[in-house]
């Protein structure tokens, strides 16, 4: 009898910490969620990307929460710096004791914190950082709730080739991993279609003139240009393209540039009329499809100046709430992860493509729409000349 009791006590001791970890961050009526974003530093503007999910949590709470539990967001600053990001995630895990993590904007930070999150075992749904390496190779508890760099890069090249008679494609990009995360999959898709880029140009960050690159591109005579450039450099590139009489060549940009912002930067529609960007949403910023989401954000955050970044985390937030709902009132981390893996073709009402997670693939969004100016108005496109 004594021996049985000892074995039982031993098993209990082993089981107790596991049970505690499974329900860490949960109370009868709350779910504590750790939200990471760069609230300070050079990349602080990316913190806008988390505003959508915060507003969505507020909305869900106003409607009674998830299975009676309110969603409590605990925000931590990563400053887009790996060391600071590591401190943030360790604080969320061991001091704030959150149930799960949601967010993070900078891929460098996400890559640095991945081993910590993987070891801790709590679920992490990535809301903005796009590098494929964050969720591939597969980690059982890490999910990508937005199109990754490879999905976006491929979508860029797919769109380019939907334009009739496009054979000569040129690429201009920054020399950083962010740019490569778009250009490498785009190149791979072009290669699959038997197309080699006719020109490969590099434009460094902070460059204020693109003449040298444009003269090279002019020699190559491309039908379409893929530009993996940040917004400021994109504006300079488009301005110089017009200066050399090449603004009739369409340019395909990344999700890192906003169509309306680019128009504001260059100042005239003619310069951007052939500029297209990856746009992960069902509608343009001013369109009817995004209007209710925009109203929801400004209801809870009245000072928010809406841009496409403001909506970036909404798709993943819808998936998180769906999985929490399906996990039921006896919520555990394992149940939540299992429910995330059951999400199949979830139409979020905000993302242009559905979310599907499986046990073998945690990169949930496999494509993106494209936005461009049609008749002078920002328009979301499925393919060249085909409205979404």
């Amino acid at each position: 009898m004594k021996r049985t009791m000892k074995v039982f006590a031993g098993l209990l001791l082993i089981a107790l910490p596991a049970t505690a970890e499974e329900t860490t961050g949960l109370t009868e009526d709350t779910i504590k969620i750790g939200v990471m974003a760069p609230f300070s530093g050079n990349a602080a503007s990316y913190s806008k990307a988390e505003i959508g999910m915060m507003a969505y949590y507020e909305k869900i709470n106003e409607e009674g929460g998830v299975n009676g539990r309110m969603l409590i967001a605990v925000q931590e600053d990563t400053a887009c710096d790996p060391a600071k990001g590591l401190a943030a995630v360790k604080k969320l895990i061991s001091q704030d004791e959150v149930f799960m993590l949601h967010g993070n904007s900078c891929s460098g930070v996400a890559l640095a914190i991945r081993p910590v999150v993987e070891d801790a075992g709590l679920p992490w749904v990535i809301a903005h950082a796009a590098s494929d390496s964050i969720s591939n190779p597969l980690a059982p508890n890490i999910f990508h709730g937005l199109p990754t760099g490879s999905a976006n890069g491929r979508a860029m090249a797919e769109f380019v080739l939907t334009r009739p008679d496009t054979k000569r494609v040129a690429i201009i990009e920054h020399s950083n991993d962010w740019a490569h995360s778009y250009s490498d999959p785009a190149r791979a898709y072009l290669k699959e279609q038997g197309i080699e880029p006719v020109a490969d140009q590099t434009m460094e960050r902070g460059q204020t003139d693109a003449t040298a690159q444009i003269l090279k591109l002019r020699e190559a005579q491309p039908d379409f240009i893929i530009a993996a450039l940040y917004e400021a450099e994109t504006a300079i590139f488009l301005r110089d393209l017009k200066k050399y009489g090449m603004s009739d060549i369409p340019v395909m940009g990344t999700a890192g540039t906003d169509l309306e912002n680019t128009l504001k930067r260059v100042g005239d529609l003619e310069t951007v009329q052939n500029y297209f960007v990856i746009h992960s949403y069902i509608d343009s910023l001013e369109g009817a499809g995004l209007k209710p989401w925009g109203e929801m954000i400004t209801k809870y955050y009245p000072d928010e100046q809406l841009s496409t970044f403001s909506f970036a985390s909404l798709g993943s937030a819808v998936a998180v709430v769906e999985a929490l709902q399906n996990a039921g009132p006896d919520l555990t981390r394992s149940k939540f992860i299992a429910e995330l893996e059951k999400i199949n073709s979830l139409e979020t009402g905000i993302l242009s493509h559905p979310i599907t997670f499986t046990a073998d693939d945690h990169q949930g969004v496999k494509g993106s729409a494209v936005a461009g100016f049609v008749d002078g108005r920002p328009t979301v496109l499925r393919a060249w000349g085909e409205r979404y």
Binding site: D77, D81, P82, L86, K91, I93, Q95, P115
Partner: protein, 322 residues
């Protein structure tokens, strides 16, 4: 007031007792606090090395971040490409940093001083960052390098508590070595150069060699700190070694006390822990951080170390210049 013989003995005892007492830290704190404590140890070394050049040698040189990056990359490359165990890469990173120090001292050897030396060494740092980005086959480019997971005698080096013990040993050894160096003939020559380079040369001391030695030691210490940083974050990428890091290191030197070894610890501790407290004010951290640094420097222009000197002569450093 200079410390008496008994106070000097007490200081020696304290030097060894404090690290011994710190051995208990991992038993008392959670993973987050442990991470911050580990950061303090790393930045204490960074500040010590930086202070050695600008505080002890008196050269306005800003290659510190370059040495830090060189050390971190040396460790990361040695573990990922050469397959060396991380522990073995610490001295390697120190030597790489020392070579960086030797190269950075080239400008000083040509008689370049003050603002000109500052600009040249800043450019050296940016040149190194360019190299990290463009030597992609070795450095991983902008993707950076992830360190492999390792164990030492069965203990995982991903565990912050295990890291702490390694970091503590390295930090104590390098602080002791720096104190010994400052007490040696070389150390006194270094401070003589700071006080008056021409007068030092007139005494037959080869000032050029002294300056090179100062840079090399600074590079070695900061290079070792870079190696610790590589393990600390398990991930090395170019953005970690930019201008912001340099400014914070410089602030650590000034807040701690220019030329003070004790100040290196105090400055690093203050400016590592403070931003963590300011986490509670998202979006306001930088403002508060800046105001607090300004306030400290206005009230204590000789840094936090001067505060301790007022408390007890034990904390008076023999070669510190008021």
């Amino acid at each position: 007031m200079m410390p008496t013989q008994s106070q000097l003995r007490l200081r020696t005892v304290l030097f060894w007792m404090v690290p011994l007492a710190l051995l208990a830290v991992p038993l008392l704190v959670n993973s987050y606090v442990q991470f911050i404590v580990n950061s303090v140890l790393i930045y204490a070394l960074v500040t010590l090395g930086f202070n050695f050049v600008i505080g002890n040698l008196g050269q306005l040189a800003f290659a510190n971040t370059a040495f830090f990056g060189i050390g971190a990359y040396a460790s990361a490359i040695a573990t990922t490409s050469l397959g060396l165990p991380w522990l073995a890469t610490i001295p390697l990173a120190g030597v790489a940093g020392a070579i960086g120090g030797f190269l950075a001292s080239g400008a000083a050897l040509r008689g370049i001083r003050f603002y000109y030396l500052a600009i040249i060494t800043l450019a050296f740092g940016e040149l190194m960052r360019w190299l990290y980005v463009h030597a992609k086959s070795v450095t991983g480019g902008t993707d950076g390098l992830s360190l492999p997971r390792e164990t030492v005698m069965g203990y995982s080096l991903t565990d912050d508590r295990v890291k702490f013990y390694v970091f503590l040993v390295v930090t104590v050894l390098l602080f002791k070595a720096t104190l010994n160096l400052l007490r040696s003939h070389v150390g006194r020559s270094i401070m003589a150069v700071r006080e008056n380079e021409v007068a030092t040369a007139s005494l037959g001391i080869p000032t050029s060699r002294v300056i090179v030695t100062g840079f090399i030691w600074s590079g070695f210490v900061v290079g070792c700190a870079g190696s610790l940083f590589a393990l600390h974050t398990s991930y090395v990428f170019p953005e970690s070694f930019g201008m912001l890091h340099l400014i914070i290191s410089f602030a650590m030197v000034l807040v701690g006390g220019l030329g003070s070894v004790l100040g290196a610890v105090l400055g690093a501790a203050a400016l590592t822990v403070l931003p963590e407290y300011l986490r509670s004010f998202p979006g306001m951290e930088e403002l508060f951080f800046g105001l607090i640094v300004i306030a400290v420097l206005l009230v204590l222009p000789q840094g936090l170390a001067s505060l301790l000197r007022r408390v007890s002569p034990i904390f008076v450093e023999r070669f510190y210049r008021e």
